[in-house]
Symmetry: C2
Subunit: 388 residues, 2 copies
């Protein structure tokens, strides 16, 4: 630590040096992130509420009220009236809260090691959670379409089954599990069902499917107990803004810890001190966009996804893994490995990601990505595949 501080001018020179090392979303070069450039109006609201702390809501009653309104709107979006939940730090905390609730419910009547039935496509946050909470993960294999093989689930249920997890928008392929069927299984067997819709939660409600069943991923399915839905992904809010919605307030209450010295008696989030700025930002976006605005953002992202998909289908030596359901595309090439292509694209400035299962290249077409970026990207990809 310096004895005496630097002067402000020199300090900001250094800050801008660091800033230059960072990529920014507006460049269009970030093709593998589920985050995006926040809308300027969200940033304005964020700044206005930057000193708030929802961990001590009696001091910030306006922000606390906004949180309740946001939870109400998210519940409505997910077909749940009178929802319980919080705006939290992100999908991991949201999933952790759901699993912590399910564990508490399980331990009220059981003594064995709690088991969670998870698709192989589950996000890595579940690895952190099952390890910390000492849960036994029981993986469901994926079917030919890279979705949870629903036919296997029932055979994996036993007396120690604490919860089932299903995904609405997998991280690697953006696929939506058959939640309607999984919900029936959970309901019939009286097992807690958590839906990780961190990514899909702000997309699926704004899509137009031909098949009405495809939309049934939320509380309309009576077996669903809780849903993760992240405003800081396709909700277009700045980080940190995750979301967790519980069907029953008694479930959220299972997390309550007494907080004698704060302005509220109990706290039901994992994180204690938590900024209300993200909440103000998503409150603003929900009211500024409305359904129409989100529909427009989602439609554009899906349109660009379809455009990219068609182009990749036509490209020589490229194999697309599956037809995209949301705005994620996965593909491989016959010539070079995904890691090699990723590395060569890196030198052109592109940041794509590589998925493990399937081992493939992965693009996420977030709203900061425009058609001109994709055209340039495909040109560079083509060049890379052609050179030795």
């Amino acid at each position: 630590m310096l004895d005496k501080g630097m002067d402000k001018e020199k300090l900001f020179e250094k800050l801008f040096d660091y800033k230059k090392m960072d990529l920014d979303y507006a460049s269009g070069k970030i093709l593998g992130s589920m985050c995006t450039k926040p809308d300027p109006i969200a940033l304005e609201a964020y700044k206005l509420f930057i000193e708030t702390n929802l961990g001590d809501p009696g001091l910030f009653t306006g922000t606390a009220l906004m949180e309740r309104e946001v939870i109400g709107v998210l519940g409505e979006l997910l077909h749940l009236f009178n929802p319980s939940g919080h705006i939290v730090t992100g999908g991991t905390e949201a999933n952790l809260m759901a699993m912590a609730v399910a564990k508490k419910l399980f331990l009220e009547n059981h003594e064995g090691v709690p088991e969670v039935i998870l698709p192989e496509s589950a996000h890595f946050s579940f690895k952190k959670i099952t390890s910390m909470l000492s849960l036994k993960p029981v993986y469901v294999p994926l079917n030919d379409e890279y979705k949870t093989d629903v036919s296997v689930i029932e055979s994996l249920i036993n007396d120690n089954t604490m919860a089932i997890v299903a995904i609405a928008g997998t991280t690697e392929l953006g696929l939506v599990d058959d939640i309607e069927k999984i919900s029936e299984i959970a309901y019939k067997n009286n097992i807690y069902l958590h839906i990780d819709a961190a990514f899909g939660g702000f997309i699926i409600p704004f899509l137009e499917y031909d098949n009405e069943h495809a939309l049934n991923f939320d509380f309309k399915c009576k077996g669903v107990s809780s849903i993760t839905i992240d405003p800081h992904k396709m909700g277009l809010a700045p980080v940190p803004a995750g979301g967790i919605i519980f069907r029953y307030s008694e479930h959220l209450e299972k997390l309550a810890v007494e907080t004698p010295y704060l302005t509220k008696d109990k706290q039901t989030t994992i994180v204690g001190t938590r900024s209300g700025a993200g909440t103000a930002a998503i409150w603003t976006l929900l009211n500024y966009y409305g359904k129409e605005g989100y529909k427009k953002a989602v439609t554009q992202a899906i349109k660009l996804t379809n455009y990219t998909y068609e182009k990749l289908l036509d490209m020589e030596n490229i194999n697309v893994t599956c037809k995209p359901e949301l705005n994620i595309i996965s593909f491989t090439s016959n010539i070079k490995s995904p890691k090699q292509v990723k590395q060569e694209l890196y030198e052109y400035g592109w940041r794509i990601s590589v998925s493990a299962n399937p081992y493939a290249m992965r693009l996420v077409l977030m709203p900061h990505v425009k058609q001109e970026h994709i055209d340039n990207f495909l040109k560079d990809l083509n060049e890379i595949l052609k050179r030795e």
Copy 2:
């Protein structure tokens, strides 16, 4: 959710209505929070890096570099060279990381239910953590000075003891445990020792004690394995900016989870997507203030604490719980209960807090509190105690 969004002007009118319901730190009315008004220079840096995500550090290499530098400086401040750690969402995530590491280490060689020896003064985040992680909390009673009764600890150790926790700056009284002695016990018995210096970590290094041992709360004590130190408390950074420092990189590595689709192969925080803005803010503050700047902020807060303490000592019908060690004061009155006084003060606009153990009123003299606020507060307090 609205079908069509509101117009911007109407929206900001509503936002300002919510804003008016919130208190702000600058009013001086918030006397029970461990957070404070962030320095404007920290907010400038925060805004500059608002779209960064340290969960995907390959995209934001400048911000990731700043995080490594901040961890280096925090380590140095805590007398540890070559530290491992992260800027996280706050004290809860930091304490959770430490306990998750200790649990992993324990389970490598043990099969029983892991036990954590905790002072009765431990922050409520440990209630969340022991419950989620299925740890058995073993509470150490406090001695006459409201500190961990060190003489009892050794008798509580058994084969299932996974960790000991000690506090440098208790939430309710701002007291520092005798960490030097606790460290000796932990070292001798080869038990993981975690220090929760979420509050004290940015104060104690800048204090001038007569007694050099009083300063020994950090990695100078060879039994200490990890320390929580929160920039968003007395580090004066905006939320979210917590800090966790591990002595051994192998310990942090215990949390590593593979992240195939991101720009880095492994992740060692609990939270996945995490803003780099708080990191940029604390990087800026460390370099802008230097030791001199923090010493000044700490000295002022302690001076105001002593001023308030003397005034309270002189007040009729007021009993001060103990001599403050940091910038927290606890007191009761002979006339009205802490809750009643708190409620009456609320009507005057003051937000103090009430602690459970001891049951008392509690003031935190953060840098947003000035002497004029205290003078007005004491006048109102006096009036409240006098009226029926």
